[in-house]
């Protein structure tokens, strides 16, 4: 056998296995011929399984029967060929689909000694989080990092990732939003210049074997199996309702046996909180922002009958005052309102007195462009629904919520909204105002939470 022959069967098998290690892919996703697949060590299985009369998707592990449907299939000629609707956005997995996988047992990744190229320093609180991660890399298991908005959670991860790389491990950072993948990937590439880092999201073009560090939307994890030694799940509480359980399964499936799971969040849900508080889940709190200043505490302002006033086309007095005050400063404003419908009726009356105000919502096709103009201070006031509560950071920012008592503003949404203000080291005093007709329990809990964090951070 010629060792250098790229087309020799062994060579092809090696390329194929490299491509497949740690993944579970549809036939259509494999750029290899049927013969090459047949001669390889890849393991094939059916796309949809029947276990005790119930369907299970072999890719995303969905077993909710309502999310299986069937059609008369032209491929397999079955009258009803069942398929999984849960992971359909990644290509259909049906009873006649074949999935291919390769056990990652024999897969090795390069060992990198001191691969971190970062000159920054950690705040004392960040250092605490970083220590906890270093420790967990040895011990494996689970770790919750409960870090306030603006704690600087990315830097907290650096040393831990560096350590995992010295062990030749493979790491994944999973986040619910594509925006975050796009923001995070270049930063990680920057500080680990010698490591292969891949960004995966819906529509990303990664035809290659993915790298040793993967930055991915959580959905892309469905295509992985026993791949990672460490999975870092960002904004673990932010998953849409219907995905919760399956995404958790996907995270587990993507990890190797004896892996480390790190959960990052500023607003853990009840379940996580309980597990942390009863000692069942190892956790570390980072109650202070990286710049060392406490979180701005929301002020409650009564805006009696704001709903009726808006219907009459009038701006409630308290809001009007807030807008006027903002106008006289060089600060930017974020105004949250409960629904897209209200946004539409409400915007013209705001623009009457505030011509440079703009609105943005989740389905706005110009969303990216508007957020950019807001960051560049071309838009002074952005009126929005809850979609921007996470992620957007602007210097010199005041934040207000109109109708803070509405159901859509949950405790964690309000904490996240409040967390937009005062993030920059040179302006830590942004104001947060909740305008309300009545006070909700969520509003009270959000403020209690913020006060508690400030108290703990003051120690």
């Amino acid at each position: 056998m010629n060792f250098f022959d790229e087309t020799s069967p062994d060579r092809i098998n090696e390329t194929l296995m490299r491509f497949l290690y740690g993944r579970i892919l549809l036939r259509e996703e494999l750029p290899f011929s049927d013969e090459e697949l047949r001669d390889s060590a890849a393991v094939r299985s059916a796309g949809v399984l029947r276990v005790n009369g119930r369907f299970v998707c072999n890719r995303c592990e969905n077993n909710e029967q309502q999310l299986f449907a069937s059609f008369s299939c032209f491929r397999c000629k079955r009258e009803s060929c069942h398929y999984c609707r849960h992971c359909i956005m990644m290509g259909r997995v049906s009873e006649c689909s074949e999935l291919f996988e390769a056990s990652s047992e024999h897969e090795t990744w390069p060992v990198h000694n001191s691969s971190l190229s970062w000159e920054g320093t950690l705040s004392p609180w960040q250092a605490k989080g970083s220590e906890a991660i270093l420790d967990a890399i040895d011990k494996k298991g689970e770790l919750l990092i409960w870090a306030v908005c603006g704690a600087g959670k990315t830097e907290i991860l650096f040393r831990g990732i560096e350590k995992a790389l010295t062990l030749g491990e493979r790491i994944c950072i999973a986040t619910p939003r594509t925006d975050v993948v796009l923001e995070l990937a270049p930063r990680i590439k920057d500080v680990f210049p010698e490591v292969k880092v891949s960004a995966l999201y819906g529509g990303s073009e990664e035809k290659d074997c993915p790298g040793q560090i993967i930055i991915s939307t959580t959905h892309q994890l469905y295509r992985f199996k026993q791949a990672f030694n460490t999975v870092i799940v960002d904004e673990v509480d932010a998953f849409p309702y219907s995905y919760e359980q399956t995404l958790q399964n996907a995270v587990k499936k993507a990890a190797r046996t004896n892996a480390l799971f790190i959960y990052l969040t500023a607003t853990p849900d009840k379940k996580l909180k309980k597990r942390a508080e009863t000692g069942k889940l190892q956790h570390v709190k980072i109650p202070r922002r990286f710049h060392g200043r406490p979180l701005p505490v929301p002020k409650f302002k009564s805006s009696w009958n704001w709903h009726k006033e808006l219907k009459k086309g009038k701006l409630p007095k308290p809001i009007l005052n807030w807008l006027r005050t903002l106008q006289e400063t060089d600060r930017s404003g974020f105004l949250f309102i409960p629904s897209i419908k209200l946004l539409e009726t409400f915007l013209p009356s705001i623009q009457n007195i505030f011509p440079s105000a703009e609105s943005v919502h989740s389905e706005d096709p110009n969303r990216k462009e508007k957020v950019l103009r807001f960051r560049n201070k071309e838009i002074k006031l952005l009126v929005t629904t809850t979609i921007l509560e996470r992620g957007v950071t602007v210097p010199k920012l005041d934040v207000a919520v109109l109708g803070a008592e509405e159901d859509i503003f949950t405790e964690s949404a309000l904490v996240q909204i409040a967390g937009r203000a005062g993030r920059k080291a040179d302006d830590t005093n942004g104001s947060v105002t909740f305008f309300h007709h009545v006070k909700s329990e969520a509003m009270n809990r959000a403020v209690r939470q913020i006060n508690l964090m400030n108290k703990e951070g003051g120690k």
Binding site: Q66, L67, R85, I88, M89, G91, R92, S94
Partner: protein, 233 residues
């Protein structure tokens, strides 16, 4: 509690006056998704069914749009298609929905359209036989199902009269002259439809040329009239 066919959110059907009197056609969607669908009604081009409210007045000649006037003034095409009706505006949501249905292959989404399509069928096209636009063998295998056939099956008994003679080329990649050309016929009729009124079923009416090509083939095979119904326009 059922789940929205599109976004999977559990929802309860709102008990309103509309639903009590069954004015609202159940489409299996939650309220939020339902609102994003724009039903076509009101002032439309009497030929292709496109809503006049959505395009400039100068593209209109009385009750017909300019596109249709052009088709009808070409002697090859005069009177070939009796008319088209479409259910929904091809807005961004409808584009997303149809792309999930066709390209991701989520066959279940056909159910969103069953009731509305059936209603339109009964109201406008009584005594027509249902003929779906076919896919080529290659495309059919790739997709696993024919999106137009699935819709037609939801409306009534289907007659698979047409087959593709060649692999379909994207209509949008051809220029207008090529689209209007009848030289290389894309369809063939495999059943006699003499004296029958035919209703063609397709997912989207864009240029109208696929549907007219199919209509021409059916007219040549004896159909007394050919109309079409599409999900989007």
């Amino acid at each position: 509690m059922s789940r929205c066919l599109y976004c999977f959110t559990p929802y309860a059907f709102p008990l309103s006056w509309e639903s009590l009197f069954n004015l609202h056609t159940d489409n299996g969607l939650c309220e939020e998704c339902s609102e994003k669908l724009e039903e076509i009604n009101g002032d439309i081009c009497e030929m292709c069914g496109r809503p006049f409210s959505l395009f400039p007045e100068q593209y209109r000649q009385e009750n017909t749009c300019n596109d249709c006037v052009r088709w009808e003034s070409d002697i090859v095409w005069t009177g070939i298609l009796a008319g088209n009706r479409s259910l929904y505006v091809y807005n961004p949501f409808m584009q997303e929905m149809l792309s999930k249905y066709k390209y991701r292959g989520d066959a279940e989404l056909a159910k969103v359209f069953y009731n509305t399509a059936r209603k339109m069928y009964k109201k406008e096209f009584q005594k027509h036989i249902l003929v779906p636009i076919p896919l080529s063998e290659e495309r059919h295998l790739e997709r696993g199902f024919n999106q137009s056939l699935l819709i037609a099956e939801g409306m009534g008994p289907v007659h698979n009269v047409l087959i593709r003679t060649s692999h379909e080329q994207k209509q949008s990649k051809k220029n207008r002259a090529e689209r209007m050309n009848m030289e290389n016929k894309p369809f063939e009729a495999v059943e006699d439809v003499s004296g029958k009124k035919v209703l063609l079923i397709d997912d989207v009416y864009t240029t109208g040329s696929t549907i007219r090509q199919a209509a021409k083939t059916l007219r040549d095979a004896g159909a007394s009239s050919v109309s079409s119904l599409t999900l989007a326009r």
